[in-house]
């Protein structure tokens, strides 16, 4: 099977896969945090991230904040927002069925998306990146410094979160509240506030994800919707409870999808397989979700859950 192979093309696909993958990983981190600390899968994570990014944009453009000022102010606002949402809307139904929680997060999606469209309209907007937009040529492969910066930020957060959960008391309390709320209460953990903290942290991480993605995908109310799906795939692939898994999953997913989309074509004898079609990119990602959930629900880096009967 003759294959004209350009290593620079392969390298380029890998590099752009790492770039997309970092963005998936950043939102996947938020999903991981919320699941690890509250046991909930938050379908509204993407919309929360989008809304936070708009807040950053407003602060930057309409109120003249300097970029980093807007960035940190947004982190603080989203943290508060996450806490408020948990306390007002999620807490009353935390003990209800899974289904109620799913419906409520769906309601949140509608509200946040609608609100963002109403306040800021659907117009596409630019978002500044804190990183230089120069591109460096390495062996025929163009590497954007912006993507490198994004990757760096995500990595830093992953490490910080890993350390937080592993080494701090609050991190331990968060994990405990999710795993066994009653026992945690017995040992004095304020479970309610731990859950709120979890949502606040996740909202903050989502804001980071949004602000990292926006310079590349540009800001509009739909910007996080596709990313959310890939973020779910990344989080499940890496392990829904593992921050390190989120970045591993994200990068694997980004690179993997690019490679499949470029090379997964076989035309030999009677075998005709073509997985490179653009229509298949999303279904493939979702197929990964299904496959992982069926074969190894804990993902690559998660710990398999043992249910007590």
């Amino acid at each position: 099977m003759p294959v004209a192979f350009a290593f620079s093309e392969l390298g380029q696909q890998v590099v752009s896969g790492l770039a997309s993958g970092s963005i998936y990983a950043s939102l996947a981190l938020a999903l991981v945090i919320i699941h690890r600390s509250t046991g909930v899968i938050n379908f509204a994570q993407g919309e929360m991230a989008m809304f936070a990014t708009y807040i950053a944009w407003t602060l930057d453009v309409n109120h003249g904040f300097p970029f980093w000022g807007a960035f940190f102010a947004t982190l603080a606002i989203s943290f508060l927002g996450g806490v408020v949402i948990q306390r007002t809307v999620i807490a009353p139904i935390q003990r209800s069925s899974v289904l109620t929680i799913v419906i409520v997060t769906i309601g949140l999606i509608l509200i946040l998306n609608g609100l963002a469209t109403w306040i800021w309209t659907g117009e596409v907007r630019a978002f500044d990146s804190p990183f230089p937009t120069r591109t460096v040529d390495i062996g025929g492969v163009a590497v954007s410094l912006q993507d490198v910066g994004t990757f760096g930020v995500v990595l830093a957060f992953v490490i910080a979160l890993w350390a937080f959960f592993r080494f701090t008391k609050v991190g331990l309390a968060l994990r405990a509240s999710a795993l066994n709320p009653d026992a945690s209460r017995l040992v004095g953990v304020r479970v309610g506030w731990m859950l709120a903290l979890g949502w606040g942290l996740a909202a903050m991480l989502g804001a980071v994800a949004g602000m990292l993605a926006a310079p590349t995908v540009f800001l509009d109310p739909q910007m996080m919707q596709a990313i959310l799906l890939y973020a779910f795939a990344a989080a499940i692939l890496g392990g829904i409870d593992s921050p390190v898994g989120a970045i591993v999953g994200g990068l694997l997913l980004g690179v993997g999808l690019n490679l499949i989309g470029t090379y997964a074509k076989l035309d030999v004898w009677f075998i005709h397989i073509d997985l490179t079609a653009a229509e298949l990119r999303l279904p493939l990602a979702l197929l990964i979700i299904l496959a992982v959930l069926l074969v190894r629900p804990a993902g690559l880096l998660g710990r398999p859950e043992v249910k007590r009967v």
């Binding site: 909930v40 899968i41 379908f43 809307v89 009353p92 139904i93 209800s96 899974v98 289904l99 109620t100 799913v102 419906i103 409520v104 769906i106 309601g107 949140l108 999606i109 509608l110 509200i111 998306n113 609608g114 609100l115 963002a116 469209t117 109403w118 306040i119 309209t121 659907g122 109310p221 799906l229 779910f232 499940i236 079609a277 229509e279 298949l280 999303l282 279904p283 979702l286 197929l287 979700i289 299904l290 959930l293 069926l294 629900p297 009967v309």
Partner: protein, 347 residues
């Protein structure tokens, strides 16, 4: 105890007969356009009944029933249109009359549900929700890919095709001429009432008890000899078949299918309809169906500015979830003893 059971059944039967009567005479009182809207309510009722069997009675969450509706819809569309299935250059299974495709749509969708149910045995709770969500999101893309069968992004247009009843000549039923919309209404509501009755029979028998056992405690059910595998896949298959029927009727009513007519929002709204209607009971489902059809329209009445209807819808949704966790059926359950008291003459 044994005294109450027959009278409860009797009142349910009476209610059913009354409902059938209302359904029969209603088109005489409403405009044709409204009849068409009510036909859609009937279609959603069928889908909601199926979803309720799976989610309400067997405890398996599905955010993917829009995909099963799509399977049923495409089955019907392919069979009705002159496209049919072409394998090896031969076209077959085309130009069928639309009503005969409905059982076929149910079958195909039911098989799809079964096929999904097998791997889904290993998933539960939020993971199942996520997996079904993944199916619903990727289904339009998959339908788009198989262009030769599904017509790709352009879809299949059923208008004016001879297989579609009433599209060329009028509709003649038992010697009466019916307008197309009234025909849609009667078609979907007849099927809805029949399927509702079937569900009721199914659920009050052994199968229903097994479903509820699975929902309440899988380990207890398994240790009492209820085969989880059998009943979970059965629940998926039955609910998918119901969704397939709904999808087939949806295709007939819209006279058009394409991948964009089954977005993820459809699956979400179906789940919303079931939860709001009340899980694990059949009584509130009609409210759920009305909600699925009309709430988007009502939200637009409140405000047309961009984004506002979505906010209205989301707020109403959350409010209902917070106020009525048991859905409308839960509300009815609380109302029933009150109503009974109104009718009891003090002895």
């Amino acid at each position: 105890m044994s005294q109450r059971l027959p009278s409860r059944t009797a009142s349910i039967v009476a209610l059913f007969v009354a409902a059938t009567a209302i359904v029969l005479i209603l088109p005489g009182f409403v405009s044709e356009f409204r009849a068409q809207q009510l036909a859609y309510v009937g279609i959603y009722l069928i889908a909601l009944t199926g979803l309720n069997i799976l989610t309400g009675y067997t405890g398996q969450i599905s955010l993917g029933h829009g995909a099963f509706m799509a399977v049923g819809a495409y089955t019907t569309a392919i069979l009705i249109s002159d496209q049919g299935l072409s394998i090896g250059g031969h076209t077959f299974a085309n130009d069928l009359k639309d009503v005969w495709t409905i059982p076929l749509a149910a079958l195909v969708a039911g098989i799809a549900g079964f096929l999904f149910g097998v791997p889904a045995l290993r998933l539960s709770g939020l993971y199942l929700a996520l997996a079904t969500f993944a199916i619903a999101v990727s289904a339009p893309a998959v339908f788009k890919k198989f262009e030769t069968f599904t017509g790709g992004g352009t879809g299949i247009n059923l208008f004016g095709i001879k297989g579609l009843t009433g599209s060329i000549s009028g509709v003649h039923v038992f010697g009466h001429k019916l307008a197309f919309y009234d025909w849609l209404y009667y078609l979907s509501w007849t099927i809805a009432l029949v399927l509702l009755a079937v569900a009721w029979f199914l659920l009050r028998g052994r199968i229903g008890r097994a479903f509820r056992a699975v929902r309440d405690s899988e380990s207890a059910a398994a240790s009492s000899g209820v085969s989880l595998a059998t009943y979970k896949t059965l629940a998926f298959a039955i609910s998918a078949a119901y969704a397939g029927v709904a999808g087939a009727l949806y295709a007939i009513a819209n006279t058009y299918v394409n991948p964009d007519t089954f977005p993820i929002t459809l699956s979400i709204f179906l789940l919303v309809g079931v939860v709001v209607g009340g899980l694990g009971t059949l009584s509130g489902l009609i409210v759920g169906a009305v909600l699925v059809q009309f709430l988007p329209l009502w939200s637009q009445e409140v405000s047309k500015s961009p984004g506002a209807p979505a906010v209205v819808y989301g707020v109403i949704l959350i409010a209902i979830m917070l106020a009525l966790p048991g859905g409308v059926a839960g509300l009815l359950r609380r109302v029933r003893p009150l109503a009974r008291r109104l009718y009891t003459r003090p002895r």
